[in-house]
């Protein structure tokens, strides 16, 4: 086996990547963790995490990230602000092209997560940051005492709509079906919240506004075809996620949604390359599932590297 810069490179510094780094460091793998911005990923925008065991009162996404990052650093994990532009992983020596250099390693864990999906309706790009948002904890205070819309019906849309009501006078929750997909406890909370009006069977068709920002949205009832205008100053979009996999270049098998296909060992279609967390094909995307995936991925990566070295 030729020598490489690292044993393992972990791509992505959210809960999945941070967990993998903790397990890898404790397995004494020479590990590099790459994060393109700041550690945390999607949970940074989560106002309150109350289903991650061990924190009975719940905690903010930002606080959980700090704790996970501290834990990784305690075991000597090297975190670098950099990103993978492309990779060549077919052989036993894996090459990753970063912004300013190329690194080699024996195994890779892809934990790049996902980003909020866009609807692609007129006005969505134009008013991003001027009324359109995907982060209630960041932006709700800009909409104090106003009327806003939220789009979606899953856990994120429902939980964050409830958070919005601490600041705004009213939330129209626009959902394309006649029932919510969110977990039951969240459904119960949203249905009994006086400030939230659910607009059933409806989809966003455009975001309207002026230079000053958003003034309203157009929604279409999918059953009747009727289009109506709602006067809102803000529009929060929570319609699912799209995997962060643009650097893969078809080198690794993905499913129809673009999520990386793995087996029970979190191994991808290429040996020595693993995927964990939101970026993989999984029925549930939570902090709890991301950390479970990553523990397995790091354990299996360590086994794989040991086999390569012929121990």
């Amino acid at each position: 086996m030729n020598s490489t810069d690292y044993d393992l490179v972990i791509i992505g510094g959210g809960p999945a990547g941070l967990t993998a780094s903790i397990y890898a460091a404790r397995a004494r793998l020479n590990t590099l963790l790459l994060e393109k911005s700041a550690p945390g990923g999607q949970i940074l925008v989560t106002d309150w995490i109350e289903n991650y065991p061990g924190f009975p009162e719940g905690l903010s996404g930002a606080d959980l990230v700090v704790k996970m990052t501290d834990q990784a650093k305690r075991f000597g994990v090297e975190i670098e602000t950099n990103q993978v532009k492309s990779m060549d992983v077919a052989d036993t020596v894996k090459k990753l092209v970063l912004n300013n250099r190329t690194v080699t390693c024996k195994a890779v864990i892809i934990a790049t997560g996902a980003s909020p999906r866009k609807l692609g309706v007129p006005g969505e790009e134009e008013f991003y940051g001027k009324g359109i948002s995907t982060c209630a904890t960041c932006d709700a205070p800009f909409f104090r005492n106003s009327v806003v819309a939220a789009i979606g019906g899953g856990d994120t849309a429902v939980q964050e709509s409830i958070f919005l009501t601490r600041f705004v006078n009213k939330v129209y929750l626009i959902h394309r079906r006649d029932q919510l997909r969110a977990t039951r406890i969240l459904q119960e909370r949203v249905l009994e919240n006086d400030k939230i009006e659910i607009v059933w069977d409806s989809v966003l068709t455009s975001v309207n506004g002026s230079d000053a920002g958003v003034t309203g949205i157009s929604v279409k009832n999918v059953k009747t075809g009727d289009v109506s205008e709602l006067a809102v100053e803000g529009c929060f979009v929570w319609v699912g996620i799209t995997p962060n996999t643009s650097f893969l270049n078809d080198a690794i098998q993905v499913d129809k949604g673009g999520f990386i296909v793995v087996n029970a060992k979190m191994e991808t279609s290429i040996s020595g390359v693993y995927a964990a967390g939101d970026v993989r094909n999984t029925p549930l995307r939570q902090v709890a599932t991301a950390v479970g995936d990553s523990a397995i991925a790091a354990f299996e990566a360590a086994n794989y590297i040991e086999t390569l070295e012929g121990h």
């Binding site: 700041a38 940074l44 930002a62 991003y128 001027k130 982060c135």
Partner: protein, 108 residues
């Protein structure tokens, strides 16, 4: 906080940012914003690489509502880049370090 990133307020914005003789990056943030706190160290790293070429400021939107209002900011973190008193670029949300550098380079 790194000393190369100074606070700017509604009252000092004109003199510090708009009248600056070199390009300026202003990081609009608030203590309650998780991504703002996370992106802080990234901006700090960048500020070291651009020392002397670009001035860096932070503007707390809780304490200074006028300036973000003037620029129609309704999301944070928002980074605004100024040159010669004019707004050149606006970056909204958590973005890659590389993207921030790329945008900054356009102002040089």
């Amino acid at each position: 906080m790194a000393e190369n990133i100074l606070d700017v307020s509604d009252s000092t914005f004109d003199s510090e940012v708009l009248k600056s003789d070199i390009p300026v990056l202003v990081d609009f943030w608030a203590p309650w914003c998780g991504p703002c706190k996370a992106i802080g160290p990234v901006i700090e790293e960048i500020s070291k690489d651009y020392e002397g070429k670009v001035k860096f400021f932070k503007c707390n939107v809780d304490d200074n509502p006028v300036t973000p209002g003037n620029f129609g900011i309704r999301a944070i973190p928002t980074l605004l880049i100024f040159k010669g008193g004019e707004k050149l670029d606006q970056i909204v949300g958590m973005v890659d370090k590389a993207k921030i550098e790329e945008t900054l380079n356009k102002s040089l």
